[in-house]
Symmetry: D2
Subunit: 311 residues, 4 copies
């Protein structure tokens, strides 16, 4: 039953949670639908495995094969981001993840495309005012194996230097549904839960540890192979009815063993990704960075952003 998802909306869906459980969801339909989930009490937090707080999920399926839809997805994501930023002017963006691992490189790739402006305030004050830039700084902390330093410590240290109104943390996530891979973005005010994400970035990065609001922006880039297999089995059991269940119970205890055999005793974690994951990561990074540039630098239009972020 250890199904791994970093999306609050999936956790609720799986458990079929509702208002009575402390799990409030409203969905605004449209070409780019947005689900807003509030986890309002400890009960819902326990049932979903997600901290209490707000989670917005933007669904942008199809945006990579339709230019207009892409632009709408950017606008919608920027809009939701603005809600979470609540007027923060001085923003530190952090790209979690290992730039050397394709499916984990989303965070650093978003950072590469942001319009960093904090230093321009002093260096080019006229340009800064004329473009009505926001105050954006950025960090690519790397992962523990590359630095030997806890990621949360590095971010906290950078935050102490920058003194931001809010921290945006970008990360690659795991979901339960392949249809959501590089097709969904979750924005939350609960920070990054330890142990989540594609890699393993350990300590919690949230309002408590950072002492400023932390907004996490995550996109699922992998499905755990074990999660996928368990899901498939469960569906079949469900179809078998009472008889089936009785019989199934006789081999249920060995089910895990079967799966482990099927998954081959490979010592590494196995993940399921689309075959063209490399290209999808690039496009997703483009979408998130454009939305962030729009949300933070309110004075810029799309053409200015394209020009400033270059080739």
């Amino acid at each position: 039953m250890n199904l791994r998802t970093d999306l609050a909306v999936e956790a609720g869906e799986y458990r079929q949670l509702g208002e009575a459980d402390g799990f409030l969801e409203t969905v605004s339909a449209g070409e780019i639908p947005v689900s807003r989930v509030r986890i309002v009490n400890e009960n819902a937090a326990r049932l979903t495995g997600k901290p209490m707080g707000n989670y917005a999920t933007v669904f942008f399926n199809g945006a990579f094969s339709d230019d207009e839809l892409f632009d709408k997805a950017v606008d919608r994501t920027a809009e939701v981001l603005r809600e979470f930023l609540k007027g923060a002017k001085n923003v530190l963006a952090v790209g979690l993840g290992n730039a050397e691992m394709t499916a984990d490189a989303l965070g650093p790739k978003v950072i590469d495309r942001l319009i960093i402006s904090r230093h321009l305030k002093d260096q080019l004050p006229e340009l800064y005012r004329e473009l009505a830039l926001g105050n954006l700084s950025a960090l690519r902390p790397g992962v523990l194996g590359q630095t030997g330093i806890e990621t949360a410590k590095l971010i906290r240290a950078a935050a102490d230097a920058v003194n931001p109104d809010a921290i945006l943390v970008f990360d690659a996530l795991a979901s339960r549904r392949v249809k959501r891979l590089c097709a969904t973005v979750q924005i939350s005010d609960t920070g990054i839960t330890p142990g989540s994400g594609v890699g393993n970035h350990r300590s919690r990065i949230d309002r408590n540890s950072m002492e400023v609001p932390v907004i996490s922006i995550g996109v699922p880039t992998v499905v755990d192979a074990a999660t996928l297999a368990v899901d498939a089995l469960q569906k079949i059991q469900d179809r078998m009815g009472e008889e089936g269940k009785a019989m199934a119970s006789s081999w249920a205890e060995d089910e895990g063993q079967e799966l482990r055999e099927a998954l081959g005793g490979y010592e590494n974690n196995l993940v399921v990704t689309p075959q063209d994951i490399d290209a999808l990561i690039e496009r997703t990074a483009k979408l998130l960075s454009e939305a962030t540039n729009m949300a933070v630098h309110g004075g810029l239009d799309r053409e200015q952003i394209d020009a400033l972020t270059g080739v």
Copy 2:
């Protein structure tokens, strides 16, 4: 039942084929075991979906966490390659695959590490003789979407220019077992079967189309997600016995549907890979290139190869 594997040894294993079927297998044990399969008639070719010919499979599990085992794996692979090269002196190496897709980039990455010598024969004849270099040239043909030109045509054109005794074709493969990912290399004299590999390199590259012997060297880097799921289901059905089978038959026709649902209606092909696939591809490319450098440049020892292939 459309289980996808590019490994002859797996195709035989799955069908439990034997000598009576035209499928001959001998295994030499050891730290680095080698299986040698001969598909001797059309019956075995049909049952396995692989052309008649010779297939050697080197199993190098564990070589990436043990230096000595790595060196033994290189030596063993070089040895098998030499058997297939049958004394060919003038060799054209071809790296199939898309260098921009992590799991498909193995072929181009092997080429990057080969000691290319064909031009040195004229340019630096003394060095060429002194080092007792073989005559090695190389091509990275790209994929159809990048060139608009059939890969087989480009290779044939290069072969016409070089006039080699043998062509070595490196490619990333699909297997059925995750434990074989980046842990197994198949060397064969049957060329590359159309439609196999991770990408889709179309037309067949073999002795017929090239008019010289074609030796393919392939390493599985992905398992098809559908293959993995079908395998898991089958094992469970097998355990259910007669009763189960009867009942299962009632939903068997919908099984594909279930799987498609579980796999989420995602339009792209889904693949299963280890989470650290980026690093595994690098190490596998190192192993294959070292083995090839040894097999082709008989006069070089390991240290010379390391020095010549640089950083």
Copy 3:
């Protein structure tokens, strides 16, 4: 006096050649000026060191800091390219150079951004017709040290497979003036002269060797350090008048020695580049590929091209 330039317009300027010498130049002014040079006889060819034929040079200084100027530079380059293509429908694009060397990687980087369509004619005939695509295929032949195969041979072999109406060859050039680095593109119908370019791609690629028209598109990315130093010295000698010249003649024979000392006895060729050469190469590749996509795929507008070339 061995001043190295790959630009015909610079060779004429240096020798102050004119109509009487067989060197015809007309310049069309404007925001993006274009010089058109015809080298009409063997005399001019000898004096310039460039083959007889047509050379157009587009000057796009400032285009990388002004979006509108960038678009104009793309349009102007596309226009000139169309003149040289003379209605060719089936075009093979070739990116010369070593993708692993920053200043030599321009050619391969242009190829990466082209809309390759040759294979779509059969695979997606409706889309092909609807978008009114031209027939574009591409080759990244690598350099001799990477392949062991003469570049010209590989291109000829690809041309035999594709049977194009024209071959476009992209390459990084050397110029005499740093102000022209990544600020000038030379388009010519004389092919690529052996030994030119940043790397050393040897055999001549032209109408004779390819048996179809060859259009070369080159951008200077480096100035030879020796060329720069000789130029500086010469200016000073010029200013010294008769006296100075007499005196200078006494040490003139050692001048080369002085320069070699100043250049430090370094065994490698030394080049002068702008400090931000990496970024300039990216932008130049963008400019050339957009112009080529426009010239070959006449039916596409700028937005369609941006969408089709992706991220």
Copy 4:
């Protein structure tokens, strides 16, 4: 006269400084010579433009074409590093520079190859002890334009988190002599002088600002084009004797103008590099990282280091 060099040994050479000036130099000859400079008073500091302190310069010309010499260069550099580390156990390594600019990417590339161990102390205490690892952590702070945060602030923040005994700062430098490019490493206890290096990393990183010893390790990767030209001119003036000097004085004031013309009015800084700078940077990063791994992880031999860092 504004000749730019980051090497103390060159600054002394240029001014022909000696003991009387407060510039003490001793050279130990051998295959890999080492110069040790002490700048002992404010006078020498002013004349050289370098802070008071110790500078060791290791000359490793030829190490990239001779394996044995490469190993000796690594050993010698490790030895000198150990002297400067003075038994520091807890070391923070910092790679300055822009990973996206070839000639400035040396620092980040060194970091990529270090054996980071700080986190292993807790995670794998037995391995940590068994291998007798040092305590090494690392930071790639990026450059101001990428982060908007002063590099010195980020390093100080990381240092506060790690509390190291010493900070090693790797950077690409500028020298006056092309023969020293990627052929010389300067190790110093004076930190990094503001404004030095290839890029512009601004605030000073030294014992004062960091409150722990800062050891800088720099390799020249470029020569300023203006520096090269001024040097060449000066040599010629020197040869011209009294007469020449008198005459030269008449145009001396315009000399700068001549040079600017020769350098072409290009707005960017121009640099001189070897043509194969990309490959040289890789090899230099390998040399520095091996030396650092040896100096910090005293218990490891060369083979263990290769195995632990190797692809």
